[in-house]
């Protein structure tokens, strides 16, 4: 029994990583209407940036901070330089971000090689907490904590601040935001950079758990897109619930039915879409 | 036999009651016009009759067959067609191609996969008949987006007529038209054969009285009167709503 409880923690920890990346993805989709296929690449870059900073003898926390900032800046550059040119052309945006996944993934291969690498768990958290027979690695508890804090911050941002109000309005009615005299371009750039930064954060925190390997960006992208669909477009709450659900299914699924976890995830998505086409917490958008 | 019977239907959106116990009927060949101020629930009534919206209660019968739960496409095959308040056409296609699409809907070969559409001579013939009958041969190859607004409204009706319905529901056929176009459309509606019954939503009182055999007045989602044009013209409540009492008259 106790092994399952420990695995439960692992599942929730993975769920939190998915939540961090899906939160950015869902808001980029909800506000900007961009299916950002390059979002997994930001995750990948976050991990590799932190890896590089740490190999320059910076400590984990500084590397984390710098990696998130650099990823967010890269997000700003990509939004300003490329995505900016294509608002309103959804198909072209899909293609553009698809092209970016090739560019970024191949650059990563070029710079960092194809060998599997990991980031060391920071010393502060390199311990475990024992309750009875159960051993909980402190780092996983930490990831869960960060995820929960992020959820609270996002909830506060969404419901209590002006920025949140603008973003909510953007999800409901994009034209409305423009009509209110708000600088939509700025909002878009901000949202995109914020999403990229979150993906970077997820990547760094995931480093000690998942490591980094070629193709990781695709795996993580597909999973977080499924989280977004299950949770509902533009809903942070939905991403939170969906991400934990997927994290648990993947982790527990690997124990019980090793070859079927993807199938379960897929079936869950199909069932959700058939019963609630707008996702668990998505708004019904009239055609 | 009553052609269309709307029996005590109600419809609400969340807490907003849009239709309340609406009952009306249409006899074969009859011209039945529904009037009422904006927001009275007229288009919702149409959407409920034609299966676009589910009912909260009540039922709709077409020739004594209950149709309340049937989707719009089934109703066409039972002999009911409708037009839309806003033009709802295929803008990229020509007039002729629009008519082709409408006419093919009832053909057994609508599931034919590999034989060119242009090979079906009956389709060609029926299209030409419609074009000739409504004198639009000079416009038949024009892309619908390039038609004038009035022409598009006419095509809207022709698409519905293509299925040779027993009953045709026209949702504000003259909305947005110039006076000249309105007169033309009124004339066209009067020319429609009596083999098709009409249920029409209309605001223009000249058109209403020109075409109506019977008028039903809806106000706040309820039928307040149903009768001959004379009865409606002389009814005090209707006058209150429409022609006096500070209410805005729709002309």
């Amino acid at each position: 029994m106790s092994i399952y409880i420990v695995q439960l923690l692992t599942g929730v920890a993975y769920g939190m990583l998915y939540f961090m990346i899906a939160a950015g993805l869902t808001i980029i989709l909800g506000v900007m209407n961009v299916v950002n296929l390059a979002h997994g690449a930001f995750f990948l870059l976050g991990t590799y940036f932190a890896f590089t900073f740490m190999s320059l003898h910076l400590n984990f926390w500084l590397a984390l901070l710098l990696a998130v900032i650099v990823t967010a800046i890269l997000g700003i550059i990509i939004e300003k330089l490329l995505i900016n040119k294509l608002y309103g052309k959804e198909l072209e945006q899909v293609l553009l971000t698809f092209g970016l996944t090739f560019v970024i993934a191949d650059c990563a291969k070029w710079i960092w090689g194809t060998e599997m690498q990991t980031i060391a768990v920071p010393e502060l958290l390199n311990s475990s907490i024992t309750i009875g027979e159960m051993v909980f690695p402190a780092y996983r508890l930490f990831v869960v904590l960060v995820g929960c804090i992020l959820a609270v911050i996002l909830w506060y941002l969404e419901s209590r601040t002006r920025v949140g109000a603008i973003i909510r309005a953007g999800v409901d009615d994009r034209a409305m935001v423009a009509a209110l005299g708000i600088n939509v371009r700025l909002v878009f750039t901000g949202v995109f950079a914020f999403g990229a930064g979150l993906a970077g954060l997820s990547g760094v925190l995931g480093g000690p758990l998942i490591g980094m390997y070629t193709g990781m960006d695709s795996d993580i992208l597909v999973t977080s897109l499924i989280v977004v669909v299950i949770g509902g477009l533009g809903s942070w709450k939905g991403s939170f619930v969906g991400a934990i659900l997927i994290g648990l299914i993947e982790t527990l699924g690997k124990i019980w039915f090793p070859s079927l976890s993807m199938l379960i995830v897929f079936l869950l998505m199909v069932v959700v879409l058939m019963i609630r086409p707008q996702g668990l917490y998505g708004k019904v958008v009239s055609q | 036999m009553t052609l269309l019977k709307v029996d005590n239907i109600s419809k609400s959106f969340n807490t907003l009651q849009v239709l309340q116990n609406v009952t009306l009927d249409v006899q074969p060949g009859e011209r039945h016009v529904i009037i009422g101020p904006n927001g009275a629930g007229k288009t919702t009534l149409f959407n409920c009759i034609t299966g676009q919206l589910p009912l909260n209660s009540g039922a709709v019968f077409l020739e004594d067959v209950e149709i309340s739960k049937l989707p719009p496409n089934k109703l066409v095959h039972l002999g009911m067609a409708r037009t839309f308040q806003k033009n709802n056409l295929f803008g990229d296609l020509t007039v002729k191609e629009n008519l082709h699409l409408a006419l093919t809907a009832l053909k057994p070969y609508r599931y034919q996969l590999f034989k060119p559409l242009s090979n079906y001579s009956d389709l060609k013939k029926e299209t030409e008949e419609l074009i000739e009958q409504w004198q639009i041969s000079d416009r038949q190859n024009v892309k619908v987006d390039n038609l004038s607004y009035g022409e598009q409204r006419l095509l809207e009706v022709l698409l519905a007529l293509a299925s040779k319905p027993k009953i045709l529901l026209l949702d504000e056929p003259t909305s947005g038209m110039s006076p000249a176009e309105t007169a033309q459309t009124s004339e066209m509606i009067q020319k429609l054969p009596r083999s098709v019954a009409l249920l029409v939503i209309e605001h223009d009182m000249d058109v209403v009285f020109a075409i109506a055999d019977r008028i039903t007045v809806i106000h706040h989602g309820e039928v307040i009167l149903s009768g001959t044009p004379e009865e409606v013209r002389n009814d005090d409540t209707v006058r209150q709503i429409y022609f006096g009492g500070g209410a805005k008259a729709h002309a």
Binding site: E92, V94 | L89, Q112
Partner: protein, 330 residues
């Protein structure tokens, strides 16, 4: 109609004449292009004529290829194998499609993507059947009853014929009643329902047809490549076909063909010079998106407008490029 015959004639002439101009490598490349052209046309049908943007179409291609690989171990009959590939892919498209078509736009894109990735995971995990990550060799031989077809040139002509056959088939389809109706549904589904059409039946029909055709292309690929691997159903492969369709021109049949040709030539050309071909191809893709004028096929229209129309000989309206951009999300 005359125009169509003209295009078909050009296709026949180029398919039969090309080997005289190409090296052995070129013939192989052209063979691959024909197979990918069939695949791209099937997605082009879905995207450009039904407005259904799938990011998991490679699933059906892979189903076709794996059918030949797996069944081919037991039955070495090209007719049975290709037919099975078409039928199995079509049936799976019919079954999954009956669920998928209830969603639209972004959700359709996502659910098809997830389905492709599901098959990808299965191809990895069901090692006993699929060979897992290592893939598997195709042991079936191309023998139509008059000796094995093994020479590259013979395979080239076989795939060329298959390609022209599918092109004609689809040309007929898009002009048939069902094809026209499907296009009407793409433009205005609610009006089509009000006219009396079963919108879902038609969507399912075109989705199954596209799936079956992708399965056909996949089965040919199995024979051509003699090796299948999970990569055939990876989402990036689906994305690449989408690129072919969009860069060739959405809303036309010949567009995806040109897109497939350009993409494969470019991919081979770049990868023969550098290991970093993904980087360069990705960058070219980004550039093309930014400057593109809605697909190669529309460039012709664009040039015509720019250079020929200026001389004032033709009516602008007729040579205007057809814009077929559909919204992925609303």
């Amino acid at each position: 109609m005359k125009n169509n015959l003209f295009i078909i004639l050009i296709l026949i002439i180029s398919v039969s004449g090309l080997p005289f101009l190409l090296s052995g490598f070129g013939v192989d490349l052209a063979t691959e292009i024909y197979i990918m052209a069939i695949f791209a046309m099937s997605l082009g049908l879905l995207m450009g004529f039904a407005g259904m943007v799938s990011l998991g179409h490679a699933a059906f291609f892979a189903i076709g290829a794996y059918t030949v690989a797996i069944l081919g171990q037991f039955i070495n009959n090209v007719y049975i194998l290709i037919l099975s590939a078409i039928i199995i892919a079509g049936l799976i498209a019919l079954l999954t499609g009956s669920l998928f078509i209830r969603t639209s736009n972004f959700y359709f894109l996502m659910i098809t993507l997830a389905f492709g990735q599901l098959l990808y995971a299965l191809a990895w995990q069901l090692e006993n059947w699929t060979g897992g990550a290592d893939g598997m060799r195709v042991s079936a031989t191309l023998d139509f009853g008059f000796g094995e077809i093994a020479s590259p040139l013979a395979i080239y002509y076989l795939m060329g014929i298959a390609f022209i056959f599918v092109y004609i088939l689809l040309k007929l389809f898009v002009n048939s009643p069902a094809g026209r109706i499907i296009k009407g549904i793409m433009e205005n589904p609610s009006r089509m329902a009000a006219l009396g059409y079963e919108v879902r039946v038609y969507k399912l029909l075109v989705y199954s047809l596209a799936g079956a055709l992708a399965g056909f292309a996949g089965s040919l690929y199995g024979y051509f490549n003699m090796f299948v691997s999970p990569d055939l159903t990876y989402w990036k492969f689906s994305g690449e076909v989408m690129i072919m369709v969009i860069f060739g021109g959405v809303g036309t049949l010949i567009g995806p063909v040109l897109g497939a040709g350009l993409f494969i030539i470019l991919q081979n050309f770049i990868s023969s010079y550098t290991e970093r071909w993904q980087l360069i191809l990705g960058a070219i893709l980004v550039l093309l998106v930014l400057v593109g004028k809605g697909g190669i096929i529309h460039w012709f229209g664009y040039f015509k407008e720019k250079f020929i129309i200026r001389k004032g000989t033709k009516n602008v309206e007729t040579s205007k490029p057809i814009e077929e951009e559909r919204e992925v999300i609303t």
